[in-house]
């Protein structure tokens, strides 16, 4: 009866105001059967990582049109690592110059998708990279439940 779903946070960091592209992606991922948490525009790296943590997402998709990706991405990745969320798949979409792609990937960004990318390509990418392995190890859960249960007065 397990019904695991891929959970994705779509966020728009930075100061540029329009989020049409981000919404198109959000809908496409929903239509592909994923649970998409949409957080809106003008998110700080702190807000994005806090939401990713609370929502326990598998994927964080960042839409960045402002050109500030080389400042925003390292900060977001660092905060994710600090929260122990290194396993979260970070994707960046928007206008990213070719020469920035390699540095972003070196930082830990899993995929960079330019304006021409089809939503299908993104869906496939996520599906191929998020497996059930990212689910919390179930045998460990049982052990912890038993441990706490036996501590009860």
């Amino acid at each position: 009866m397990t019904q695991r779903k891929i959970r994705v946070l779509i966020a728009k960091p930075g100061l540029d105001g329009h989020d049409r592209g981000a919404k198109v992606i959000a809908r496409a991922l929903r239509d592909a059967g994923m649970e998409v948490i949409y957080t809106g525009i003008r998110q700080t790296p702190e807000m994005i990582v806090e939401a990713a943590l609370q929502e326990d997402v598998d994927v964080v998709g960042l839409s960045i049109l402002s050109g500030a990706h080389m400042a925003l991405c390292p900060r977001i990745l660092e905060l994710l690592r600090r929260e122990g969320m290194d396993d979260v798949l970070v994707l960046v979409g928007g206008i990213i110059p070719d020469e920035d792609v390699a540095p972003l990937k070196a930082l830990g960004v899993a995929g960079v998708f330019g304006p021409g990318t089809s939503t299908r390509e993104i869906v496939e990418f996520i599906r191929s990279r998020v497996s059930d392995a990212s689910a919390v190890d179930a045998s460990g859960l049982a052990a912890s439940a038993v441990a706490v249960g036996s501590e009860r007065p």
């Binding site: 649970e35 689910a135 919390v136 859960l141 912890s144």
Partner: protein, 335 residues
């Protein structure tokens, strides 16, 4: 590789937000250990005041939850928020957008927000939310606000999972008399008429009063004046509770502190009249029945040969047997 789950519950109880988030996922996903997790958490539950916030799409529920959560923080309470949106029946996916209206709550460790899709499955909304409520309760959140879109069964389900149900209305939904569903009277402990900055809020209030039997139907110019003859909302002499109708402007926070105070008054009313424990008992009974039903059915099906159920269904369709006799035979065979 060491299992990340091993210390999940102790970590959650020690205040780890990551462990809290992962526990919620495990329970939502219905992993086989979910019942064991919930059992371990149960002794730590029972302290939170659960407030359901329901109403038609776009009435301002998320904005109001945002404002209420801030009011609760100002009053020194920690707040858990569960924002439920429907799963698409076609794709199984969901677009969860309530956080957009809750950005004021970012960065506050006294707040935890979780978006949840209905996943439209066995047990429905009540099951999943009741379990996630328990997790937030065990994690120590003192007030838990649960937002659901008031469509059909969802709002009835949330009323059964909450101590206090707030129904959010807004002016401008067309003909209020039809737009406001009769069913809300049965579930509402409080009404918020949100978007009170918009035209028509007074009329929405009047329609609600009319539905409560407090005001005659509005007829043209002869509007009933809300005179002193009207009973005051809140606890009544006969021990019942008359839901207050409160105007709010969630975007500005107007009327929100008064709303919060009324929610607290409702909790006090429940506690004073033993209604709290009666609601707890009703919740527990529903919960237990549901678990038993699930388990018994699973048990029964496990005791039958694999294709027995399918055979019976075929026989029923062919009118070779009626469903009642079929059920009787299956029960006899399984026991």
């Amino acid at each position: 590789m060491p299992s990340p789950g091993a210390s999940l519950i102790p970590d959650l109880l020690a205040g780890s937000r990551r462990a809290l988030a992962q526990t919620i996922s495990a329970i939502e996903d219905g992993v086989v250990e979910a019942p064991a997790l919930l059992s371990a958490l149960y002794p730590h539950t029972g302290r939170a005041h659960v407030i359901g916030v329901t109403g038609a799409p776009g009435t301002g529920k998320s904005t109001l939850v945002n404002a209420l959560a801030k009011a609760y923080r100002a009053a020194g309470k920690t707040v858990g928020v569960i924002a439920v949106d429907p799963t698409s029946p076609f794709s199984g996916g969901a677009l969860l957008g309530d956080r957009v209206r809750m950005r004021d709550l970012a960065g506050d460790p006294g707040i935890f927000i979780r978006s949840m899709a209905t996943r439209g499955s066995l047990g429905g909304l009540a099951r999943a939310t009741a379990d996630v409520i328990s997790v937030l309760d065990a994690a120590g959140f003192e007030r838990i606000l649960v937002e659901t879109v008031g469509v059909g069964q969802a709002e009835v389900d949330i009323a059964s999972a909450a101590h206090t149900t707030l129904v959010v209305e807004a002016p401008g939904l067309g003909d209020e008399v039809q737009a406001i569903k009769a069913g809300v009277l049965e579930i509402a402990d409080l009404f918020a008429v949100n978007k009170a900055d918009r035209e028509g809020a007074d009329r929405t209030v009047l329609v609600l009063q009319m539905m409560q039997g407090l005001a005659p139907a509005p007829t043209g110019h002869h509007r009933a004046t809300a005179g002193s003859a009207l009973p005051q909302p809140g606890p009544q002499e006969d021990g019942s509770w008359l839901p207050p109708i409160l105007k709010t402007v969630a975007t500005r926070g107007d009327g929100v502190e008064a709303l919060r105070e009324w929610i607290e008054r409702h909790a006090a009313y429940l506690r004073a009249l033993d209604g709290w424990s009666r609601r707890e008992a009703a919740r527990a009974a529903t919960e237990l029945e549901r678990i038993l039903r699930d388990r018994l059915l699973a048990h029964l099906l496990a005791a039958l040969p694999a294709d027995r159920l399918a055979q019976m269904v075929t026989a029923i369709v062919r009118r070779e047997i009626d469903p009642y006799t079929a059920a009787e035979q299956l029960l006899t065979q399984a026991v």
